[in-house]
Symmetry: C2
C-alpha cells in the first residue's frame, strides 16, 4: 500500500490514526473523533461500528493531539518536595487513585532543595497541566507558587501560604492540637512539652500555637519546647532525650507520628521510662505505624479521605480556578486515644 521494499522491522510502526481508521471505514475523521467523544452528535450505530472496528485494528485516540486542540490535558501536576514523613507517600497514592477515578492522571513534580526552583517548576507550565496540587511541606515561597500556578487551577494540601492567593485543604490543626492538650489534661498530666519538626512551616506553627495556647488556658506547665529540625524518627529520639535531660515532663506532644515514634522508643529504651505511666506521648497524623501494638500511639487522625475528596472535588467543579475567590477548607480530624498516653484504654486496637 505504501512504499514497498521497506523492511517491516525498520519501518517504525506508528500507531494508527483517526484519519486512517476513517478512510478504512469510508467515513470522515470527524466521525471517528465523535465516536470517541461522549455526548457528541453521532448516530449510535455509526458510533458502534467505529468503536468496534477501532478495537479490531487496535486504534487508540492520541491523547496528545487531543490535548493540543482542546487545550485540556486531563493531567494534574502534583508538586512534592521531601517525603520523609510516610504520611505523604500514602496521601499521594490515594490522591492519584482518586484523580484517576475521575479521569485525571497525576504528573509528579519532585522539587529538590538544591537547584533553582523556577527551572524545575517551568515544566509545570510547559506541560499545561489542568491543575496543580501542592503537597510540598516547605521550600516554595508564595511568590514562586503564584508564578508556577499562574493561570491554572491550584490547590494546596496541608499547608497555607499567606501571600500566594491559593485555595487549600487542610486538617484542622488547631482543633487537633487543642484536643491533645485537653486529653493530656483530662488524664492528669500537668507538665507537658512540645516537639516541633520544621518550626517554620505553617502546619507546625498552627499546631504549636494551638497547643501552647491551650496548655496555658488549662493552667498546665509547658516544660519544654524543642525543635527537632526535621520530621524523622531520629530527630524524635533526640528531642525526647533533650526533654528528659532538661528535667523531663509528664507528657510530650510531637508534631507528627514519626517524631513521636522515635520519641517513644527513646523514652522507653534510652531514658528507661514507662510510657504512659511515667510520661505520655502523642503524635499527629495517624499513620500506619501509630496503630502498631508496639507504638499504640495516641494521635490526631488526619481525615485523609475527606481531604482528598474535597481536593478532587474542588478541581472538578473548578472552584479553585484563578479568578474564583480562594477557599480555605479546614476539615475536622479525630482524636485517637491509644495506650501511649492512657493506660486504662480498652481500645487496644
Amino acid at each position: 500500500m505504501d512504499k514497498p521494499e521497506i523492511p517491516e522491522d525498520k519501518a517504525k510502526r506508528r500507531p494508527i490514526t483517526a484519519r486512517q481508521l476513517a478512510r478504512m471505514l469510508g467515513v470522515s475523521q470527524s466521525a471517528v473523533s465523535r465516536a470517541f467523544t461522549p455526548g457528541a452528535s453521532i448516530a449510535p450505530d455509526l458510533r458502534d461500528r467505529i468503536k468496534q472496528f477501532a478495537e479490531e485494528v487496535d486504534y487508540h485516540p492520541n491523547a496528545i493531539a487531543s490535548m493540543l486542540s482542546k487545550s485540556r490535558t486531563n493531567i494534574v501536576g502534583i508538586v512534592v518536595s521531601d517525603m520523609q514523613n510516610p504520611f505523604y507517600p500514602a496521601l499521594i497514592e490515594k490522591l492519584s487513585r482518586s484523580l484517576q477515578r475521575v479521569g485525571l492522571q497525576s504528573l509528579l513534580f519532585n522539587i529538590t532543595k538544591g537547584s533553582n526552583l523556577e527551572e524545575q517548576l517551568s515544566a509545570l507550565r510547559r506541560y499545561n497541566v489542568d491543575a496543580v496540587i501542592i503537597i510540598s511541606a516547605t521550600i516554595l515561597s508564595g511568590q514562586t507558587l503564584r508564578w508556577a500556578t499562574e493561570g491554572r487551577a491550584a490547590l494546596l494540601i496541608n499547608r497555607v501560604v499567606e501571600d500566594a492567593d491559593l485555595s487549600c485543604v487542610i486538617c484542622d490543626n488547631v482543633a487537633g492540637s487543642r484536643a491533645i492538650a485537653d486529653h493530656f489534661y483530662e488524664t492528669g498530666r500537668r507538665r507537658v512539652a512540645y516537639v516541633s519538626g520544621l518550626s517554620h512551616t505553617t502546619t507546625n506553627r498552627e499546631r504549636q500555637n494551638a497547643f501552647v495556647t491551650r496548655v496555658a488556658e488549662l493552667g498546665m506547665t509547658l516544660c519544654a519546647r524543642v525543635d527537632a529540625g526535621e520530621y524523622s524518627y531520629e530527630a524524635g529520639r533526640r528531642a525526647a532525650m533533650e526533654i528528659v535531660e532538661r528535667g523531663g515532663a509528664d507528657a510530650i506532644f510531637f508534631a507528627n507520628d514519626i517524631l513521636a515514634a522515635g520519641g517513644l522508643d527513646a523514652l522507653r529504651e534510652e531514658a528507661g521510662l514507662s510510657v504512659p505511666d511515667d510520661i505520655a506521648v502523642a503524635g499527629f497524623d495517624d499513620i500506619a505505624l501509630a496503630s502498631w501494638p508496639h507504638y499504640a500511639l495516641t494521635t490526631f487522625r488526619q481525615p485523609v479521605d475527606e481531604i482528598i475528596a474535597v481536593a478532587v472535588g474542588m478541581i472538578e467543579d473548578g472552584s479553585c480556578y484563578p479568578g474564583r475567590p480562594i477557599t480555605i477548607k479546614r476539615l475536622p480530624g479525630e482524636l485517637i486515644v491509644r495506650s501511649s498516653s492512657y493506660t486504662i484504654s480498652r481500645s487496644s486496637k
Copy 2:
C-alpha cells in the same frame, strides 16, 4: 490590537505562542522554535535576543505541541499498584527525581485490583509515554503487560515476568537470601523458618527458594514456612506467632522488613522471647525503619540507588526499547547485620 470591547477578565488569557513572539520580534516562528532547541541551527545572537525577549513577555514553549510534532513526550509512565510496603513509595520518589534530572517527568498510573485493567492501562497508550516502568508487585499478567507496553520502552523494577518479554532490573534476591541463611548458620542458628508475603510473586519465589535451598545445603532444619498473605506489619505479627505456636525456631527470615518488624515486635511482646538471644530475626530491603534502634533489623539492603541508576540508564540509552534483546539486570545488595540477629554486633547503627 485584537477585537477591542472584550472585557479583559472574560478573555481567557491564552498564553503567548511562538508565532506571536516571532511576529513581535519580526522573525519567523521557526527561529523561535530553534532558539529553544539545543543544537539547532541558529545564530547565537539571534537566539539570545529571542530568549531574552521571551523572558520579558513570559513565553514558554508549549510542551504539548512539541510532543505532537516530535512524537516524543519526555514522560515516563510509572505503573504502581498497591503500596503497602514503604519500600516502594521511597523508590518511586527517588526514581521520579532521577528521571527529572535527565529531563523526564513521571506520570503515575495507579492500578487498582478491582476494575478492568485494560481500561486503566489504556491511558498508558493514549498518553504516548516514551517509556513505562512497572513497579507493581503483582496484579498484571505478562500478557496484559505486553499489551500495555506494546511498541514502547518498558522496564520492570524488582520483578520478573516470564512471558512478557520485558527487561528488568532487580536486586539479587538469590544472593541476598543465601546471605541471610549463611548468616543464621554462622551465628549458630539451626532451626530456621521462612515467612513469605505474597507467595506467588516472583520476588517471593526467588527469596524463598534460595533460602530454603541454602538452608538444606547447610544442614539446618526448616521448622516452618508461613505465608503471611500480605506485606504488612500485622501479617508479620501473625506469622511470627504462628511459628511460635507451631513449636518455634531459633531464627526467622521474613520476606521483607515490614513483616520482620511486625514479627519482631510480636516475638518480644506477645511471645515474650528475647531477640536475638532466643530467636534471630532478619528481613529484606533495608527500609528506614530497619535502622531504628528499636528494631535494629538485620536485613539485606536493596541497592536502590543503583537500581534506579540502571533503570534510568536503560531508558536513556534505549536498551529497553522493543526490538532490542531483553536484559535482566540483577544487582548485588548488601547484608546488613544489626542486633536483631546478632548480639555482639558492634555496628549498632
